[in-house]
Amino acid sequence: MINKTEPLLEVKDLKKYFPLRKAFLKKGKGSVRAIDGVSFSIQEGGSFGLVGESGSGKTTVARAILRLVEPTEGKVLWKGQDICPFSESEMKELRRNMQMIFQDPYSSLNPRKTVFNIVAEPLKIHKRIKGRKLRERVEALLEIVGLKREHMFRYPHELSGGQKQRVGIARALSLQPKLLILDEPTSALDVSVQAQMLNFLESLQEKMKLTYLFISHNLAVIRYTCDVVAVMYLGKIVEMGGAESIFSSPRHPYTKALVSAVPLPQAEQPETAILLEGDIPSATHIPHGCRFHTRCPEKIGAICESSEPNTNYFPDGSQVDCHLF
């Protein structure tokens, strides 16, 4: 984070509000504040992790970066340039640099297309390659992700979850992007395959000089793969910093609760688990003041209910949004 070079991707005060449609009575506006002022930056070649539970807004951040949803406010800077005002055709050009690997391998592949067509499609759209050259490119891509020629003309329903995920990766790699956004890349996979997939993604990153933005609710996956982590709650980043320090000595009460809630596969179970009371509030009724105060075990008092905490920065580059600091 203390880096002189310009980050590859920077997000500044990003907001996305989804309007709530009121049926008859038009009194009062409501909106789902999915992201409410998110800022972070990713260095080239790095692995950035975005962690959070449902309603945290992490998936919306990914979609906003790719402009699959339009940000309500804020900036998305690609190599220093704000891409939010880009037109459709400018975005099309830009999409070659940023690709996404979707969460559910079962629905992110068109069931009516063969593996070949799925992987070839980006090439057909952008590079207009045809015939033998196209076939060779697709074969090379499939080889990179570890699929064989015999898979090329299969349909998605004939592949296993891990294989489907690899097809998605091949598709994303076809345009040689610089940034890969990975939305829960392993949550649909079996345990014994998850580690393989993550190792593969790591070697891929080295080989193809990729930058990763990982999105997951699985803390173990994020800890295994990312250098920098941001923890999100109800649309805001509550804590951000180096992966190791965030997970081994978390500062924000939510991060602490999250870390202690992960069930550890070991014989001795820690006695003290920080249990949060109640449910995650709905994004339509975000609590006043600090959004976490309704469940916070370390709540100070009135200040948490009335004012949103400011970001506190620490010398090692990490930050926390909490009144305790």
């Binding site: 975005m91 099309k92 979707f102 992110s108 068109n110 063969t114 090329m152 003309f153």
Partner: protein, 303 residues
Amino acid sequence: MKEGLSFLTRMKEERESQIRDIRLTIYTLSRSPLSVIGFLLILLFFVITLIGPWIITYPQDIKGAVHMDQKLKPPSRAHPFGTDEVGRDIYSRVVIGTQLSLQIGLIIIVVAMGIGVPLGILAGYLGGWVNNLIMRVTDIFLSVPGLLLALAIVGALGPGIKNAMIALSIVWWPGYVRLVQGKTLSLREESFVEAAKSIGASRFRIIFSHILPNCTSPIIVKASMDMGMAILFAANLGFIGVGAQPPMPEWGAMISVGRNYLPDHWWMATFPGVAILITVLGFNLLGDGLRDVLDPQSRGQIR
């Protein structure tokens, strides 16, 4: 030489999945005896359509011939279905009627799909005012019972098989809009459509290459059931007298005339009636069977 060989292996690879799919379809279809019956009936229907001209005994009886000396003869060896009021062989007319029915049914369904499917996809994908406009117009058409609407249109245009087909196409297209719009709405939210957007696919590409191919299953099911119903409706119009006009060997028209000769000369109305029954039943059963086949839930893959 090597290029040629690899071409063959390529073809084989490409088709492997499709072959597996077809085998699975056949397996699933064969699980249900009713679908098999439906399939066989339709097969019979198509076979007769194809070889019709070669198996009829009195080709001249199809349209104009009149043999008053042969009139109203009951079923016999020479005339397995008997003869009608002007002496024409009913068997030959029923067989050729098959061809006619197929033509009628196909044209109606194809035109209805041609109008309905694109409108449905546009409405579903574009949403907003386009969706509202198309769906409201569709609703207006759907609010009138099909046969009545067809009658009204034919009433305006005048009787005849051509006008009957136009009327029935107009009755049929809204059903496809509804079906396809609903399917498109649900497909629009699927991950793979989002993925297509993220790789830079244009709206056009998404609609034609991603959404449309995934709509084909419900369309096929509907089309196969509709075929039977379209033929039935055409026969209804013919029966009332506003569809096919005599001397066309259309089943409905034949029943219309034969009705007057019941019950003594029962064969005039019965055989065309049975033909309609078998055809509509066959298409319905087949449609049901296809629905089971194409429904991903019941494709018999236990994981």
